[in-house]
């Protein structure tokens, strides 16, 4: 059979090809593959499959360098989600994904559908989602547009996850002008299953049925995948009809129906219809199973009359799944979906002939030879060269930046840093997320350095966190890539969990620019170094390129989603000091590093200097120390030093729990010779502030791991104040002043927003 154009199909012209985002070379490759001119439908299919989003054509060779194996990895990259074993026959599926461009155009729906998509990736593996995380990057809150985006994105994430009954338990948020025109919205989902319930998205078995399941197909988001593969420009505004609307209620039904379906054994494979909808899900399942498929678009349940095969194939309507069911069991599949008030329709079958064929009734509208439609795309190895301007920034001597007059009182600097939106409490955000549904949350947002979620039916708990300091990666991509992994692992270990594996979301600019591709290559290299050193392989992830706006590319932001395991949930450690009189111990060593710090950026508006060095062996030793300390119940609290350095970490443990603040009396004379601002606010890596009732024992454990450790002070009553001595100038602050700076910053900034309320809540009709 050969495909022929439909009546009324546009004629294939170079202009049409260009509109579909194919280069002339790519188009020639398509013609060679078909040995003829493609039909309009075929052009649409290939435009989606060979888009960056689906094909990874610029990133795959670099991604291949990442470590992906460990004895506990059950499923590495290449599936809907990665899967690791946590013992006792239990497994964890997890994945992170970006929805940056849709969120820039329509923050509420963009973020909501991002959450919907990542949930589907996890439950199609057979896992029940137990936790969500989100990693967000925005421009400055001084801009009304940014406040609108923050409001809409947070509400979109909340409304979707809340309705699904999956707690949103952790994340990270940073604000920097670099993200002004192009916010980053990365959502991560973690699910739990029995190992034997694992199901893969691999079409198998000639004669098996291909079924479309869930919501009906409408004209939403056609060409979203190629949209995600372009720079954001003012013209993107004109592309608004591509925005999809999420329906979390339908997704909740789909979740329950899918898990029931998988348990029933009636199906061979399931894949969610995400970017490029039916096209990519069917092509990817066929490719994994090395089989042919035949689909009839007339059999796809549609929402609107008169949809063309092109539209049906490329629609990105949400809350849909593609299921490969055992031959003859379609009635059983339909019955399960019907129970949940959802539709299921047989739309094609797995065939022996190695082709990808689409029919509209009897008319073949697309037919490709072979089963490797997605990986048959061209791959690129773009030029990589570091930008000399960034080299110059990195080499700048930041110690030469003159102090501001107010800094003569370091308490002023500390309070001001605590109110930096990147550092300040994110409670304004996390209060909009149900973080306790499912009744397994041991530590939710703000309670510990990573979220801790009990695995029901076992004594175990999972710890999880997203992280990435894009400013570090910008100033030194190799080091920044390493730190992203190391910090995520350290955060997980602060709760007492052993870091196990990583998912990642690589948010970068246009890879065709050599300085961007340099960032990409180096950052991924750094991530790989760290993953190898910390024994946390990469099990999956997502690449989001072309994150650029008229003001330039975003900071290179390889967001890390780390998952770790605590064998005994009752041993989990939070980040807030617990008792007056406890000793405060610093693990790791302060340095004179100040480059790339939040201090320089927020206090001085300077983005320069080298990011702190990352000693991976040292990081590993700190992680081992934390795990042992938690396991032997020696810790009352643990909190790592990140943005804002040691002084901010000490303060966050004191005021993080607003209802139960504490004071401290700390002396840093040991390091009195360091420049004061490096000592207090420098961001030297590998450091953790712990509190303990048994300092001797803590020091002894640290010593066995070769980790420098020192008692630096005591936890006091809040009324005793917050005191750090031993540096060039002493720091005295009222606990309540620090607390106000930290807790009121974000609400105050957002109060300046014009209420975005009414425009962003279609589900509920009206909002406040």
């Amino acid at each position: 059979m050969t495909a022929t154009p439909r009546l009324g199909d546009p004629v294939i012209t170079p202009a049409l090809v260009a509109e579909h985002g194919l280069t002339p070379d790519e188009y020639q490759r398509l013609e060679r593959m078909l040995e003829r001119t493609p039909t309009f439908t075929e052009l649409g299919i290939i435009s989606a499959l060979w888009s960056e989003h689906c094909s990874y054509k610029h990133s795959r060779p670099v991604l291949k360098t990442l470590p992906t194996q460990a004895p506990w990895v059950l499923q590495g990259p290449g599936e809907n989600a990665g899967v690791i074993s946590i013992g006792d026959g239990m497994a964890v599926a997890f994945k992170i994904e970006s929805h940056n461009h849709p969120s820039a155009v329509e923050p509420y729906q963009g973020a909501a559908t991002g959450v919907g998509g990542i949930l589907r990736d996890v439950f199609t593996m057979g896992a029940r989602p137990i936790a969500m995380l989100n990693s967000l990057r925005f421009g400055s809150l001084d801009t009304p547009r940014v406040r609108y985006l923050v409001g809409g994105v947070v509400k979109g994430i909340g409304d979707y996850g809340n309705c699904m009954g999956v707690p949103t338990v952790a994340g990270d948020v940073m604000f920097d002008a670099a993200y002004e025109g192009n916010p980053l919205v990365n959502a991560m989902c973690v699910g739990v299953m029995r190992e034997d319930e694992l199901i893969r998205a691999k079409a198998e078995g000639v004669g098996n049925l291909i079924m479309a399941v869930g919501a009906r197909t409408g004209r939403d988001g056609i060409h979203g995948a190629s949209f995600a593969s372009e720079d954001l420009s003012h013209e993107s505004d004109a592309k608004r009809p591509r925005v999809q609307v999420g329906d979390p209620f339908t997704e909740k039904l789909l979740l329950e129906a899918t898990l029931e379906l998988i348990a029933s054994g009636h199906c061979v494979a399931i894949q969610d219809m995400g970017a490029a909808g039916l096209t990519s899900s069917s092509a990817e399942m066929a490719e994994r199973g090395e089989v042919g498929v035949e689909i009839d678009t007339l059999k796809v349940p549609v929402r609107e009359a008169g949809m063309t095969p092109y539209e049906i194939l490329l629609s990105e309507s949400q809350e849909r799944m593609l299921v490969v069911a055992h031959k003859g069991r379609d009635a059983e599949v339909r019955a399960i979906l019907q129970k949940w008030d959802l539709t299921a329709a047989v739309i094609g079958e797995v065939i022996a002939e190695p082709v990808y064929r689409v029919k509209e009734g009897d008319h073949v509208v697309a037919e490709f030879p072979g089963t490797r439609l997605v990986t048959d795309c061209p791959f690129y190895y773009p030029e990589a060269a570091e930008s000399p301007a960034i080299v110059a920034l990195r080499e700048r001597d930041v110690h030469a930046v003159a102090e501001r007059a107010e800094e003569s009182d370091p308490a002023w600097t500390l309070a001001r840093l605590l109110s930096a939106p990147t550092i300040a409490s994110k409670r304004w955000i996390s209060q909009q997320y149900d973080s306790t549904v499912r009744a397994n949350t041991v530590f939710g947002p703000g309670g510990a350095d990573a979220a801790v979620v009990r695995v029901r039916g076992t004594k175990k708990a999972l710890a999880m966190k997203t992280d990435c300091n894009g400013r570090y990666v910008y100033l030194d991509p190799r080091v920044g890539g390493r730190i992203a992994v190391a910090e995520a692992a350290r955060n997980v270990a602060c709760t007492g969990a052993r870091p196990l594996a990583v998912t990642n979301c690589l948010n970068f600019g246009n890879p065709k620019r050599p300085e961007i591709f340099f960032q990409f290559k180096e950052a991924v290299g750094g991530m790989g170094d760290a993953c190898r050193a910390l024994d946390t392989p990469v099990t999956g992830g997502n690449v989001s390129l072309y994150n650029e706006s008229p003001i330039g590319a975003v900071y290179p932001t390889p967001t890390i989603g780390m998952v770790g395991l605590i064998e005994d949930a009752t041993k989990a450690v939070g980040s807030a000091y617990q008792s007056e009189g406890d000793s405060i111990v610093l693990l790791g060593t302060p340095t004179n590093e100040l480059g790339a710090s939040e201090y320089l950026s927020w206090i001085h508006g300077v983005v320069a200097g080298a990011p702190p060095a990352c000693d991976l062996a040292g990081e590993r030793a700190v992680i081992d120390t934390l795990c042992e300390l938690a396991d032997t119940r020696l810790l009352r609290s643990a909190h790592d030093c990140s943005e804002g350095g040691l002084a901010v970490a000490l303060a966050e443990s004191a005021i993080g729990n607003r209802e139960q603040p504490r004071g401290i009396a700390v002396d840093l004379a040991t390091w009195g010779s360091l420049p004061l601002r490096a000592l207090l606010f420098g961001e030297a890596q590998g450091r953790v502030v712990v509190s303990t009732a048994n300092a001797e024992a803590v020091l002894a454990v640290a010593k066995t791991h070769g980790v420098p450790a020192r008692v630096i002070g005591q936890v006091t009553a809040a009324s005793a104040g917050f005191t750090i001595t031993g540096g060039a100038r002493a720091l005295h602050a009222d606990v309540s002043t620090l607390s106000m700076s930290f807790h009121d910053a974000l609400p105050a900034a957002m109060r300046r927003a014009p209420a975005d309320a009414i425009t962003t809540d279609p589900a509920a009709g009206v909002t406040a």
Partner: protein, 229 residues
């Protein structure tokens, strides 16, 4: 005691309620499907939290017409105990099993721990507490602003039908302790016959030390105390 927990499309706290009853009370529980017509011999019916029918139109408005609600209403009419938690409270109000309505919070969705004060202990969901006892547990809702006209509110107060009120750490029902703009800090009410109770907070999420509070336990223990009385 057997507790029937209704699963509506979009419910998402039915498993949590099940664990509260089975794991923490050690009693029997059964999940009831909304399309069924049988309470399976349940002594107590729980309408759990979640987003039944996506909370589209109004929270609880569509779920209240689910087939099983006929049996739930008959059970309530016979004096059987019905507890509505969060979305279940909204459904019970929509169904007319409880007075008033739960409107959109005055400050959007709120997920946070709150303290509630037990105002009366003569209901099946407060009997094991003592009057004035303050309990800490999470809320997580967007539509929890209890609303009724003044005459109704006065009647509810007069008849002792306001069972739970949001209070501050000192036990006072202040404005600052009101998380959603609810009238008179009302967090939970019962019907005139006192056998149907609804509340917005989630006691099933405060059952064990890992939750950070075990205060929800006393409310569930009330069911048992009532059943044995």
């Amino acid at each position: 005691m057997k507790v029937g927990i209704v699963r509506f499309p979009g419910s998402n706290c039915e498993d949590d309620a099940w664990h509260a009853v089975v794991d923490h009370l050690g009693e029997e529980a059964v999940i009831l499907w909304h399309k069924d017509h049988d309470l399976q011999g349940s002594d107590v019916v729980i309408l759990p939290g979640g987003f039944s029918y996506g909370d589209y139109l109004r929270s609880g408005a569509i779920a209240r017409f689910s087939p099983i609600m006929n049996e739930v209403e008959a059970h309530a009419q016979r004096g059987g105990i019905v507890v509505g938690i969060c979305n279940g409270f909204q459904i019970a109000c929509e169904a007319g099993l409880l007075p008033g309505a739960l409107l959109r919070n005055d400050r959007g969705y709120r997920s946070m721990p709150v303290t509630i004060r037990v105002e009366h202990t003569d209901t099946a969901f407060s009997a094991a507490a003592h009057a004035g006892q303050c309990l800490t547990m999470p809320i997580a809702h967007g539509d929890g602003r209890f609303t009724a006209d003044d005459a109704t509110l006065d009647r509810l107060e007069g008849e002792g039908q306001v069972i739970f009120r949001y209070v501050d750490a000192a036990g006072h029902p202040t404005d600052a302790a009101n998380p959603n703009g609810t009238m008179r800090n009302i967090a939970g009410v019962c019907n005139a016959a006192r056998n149907v109770i609804g509340l917005m907070p989630h006691p099933e999420r405060a059952m064990e030390p890992l939750h950070g509070s075990t205060d929800g336990l006393v409310l569930f223990q009330s069911l048992l105390a009532t059943a044995r009385a």
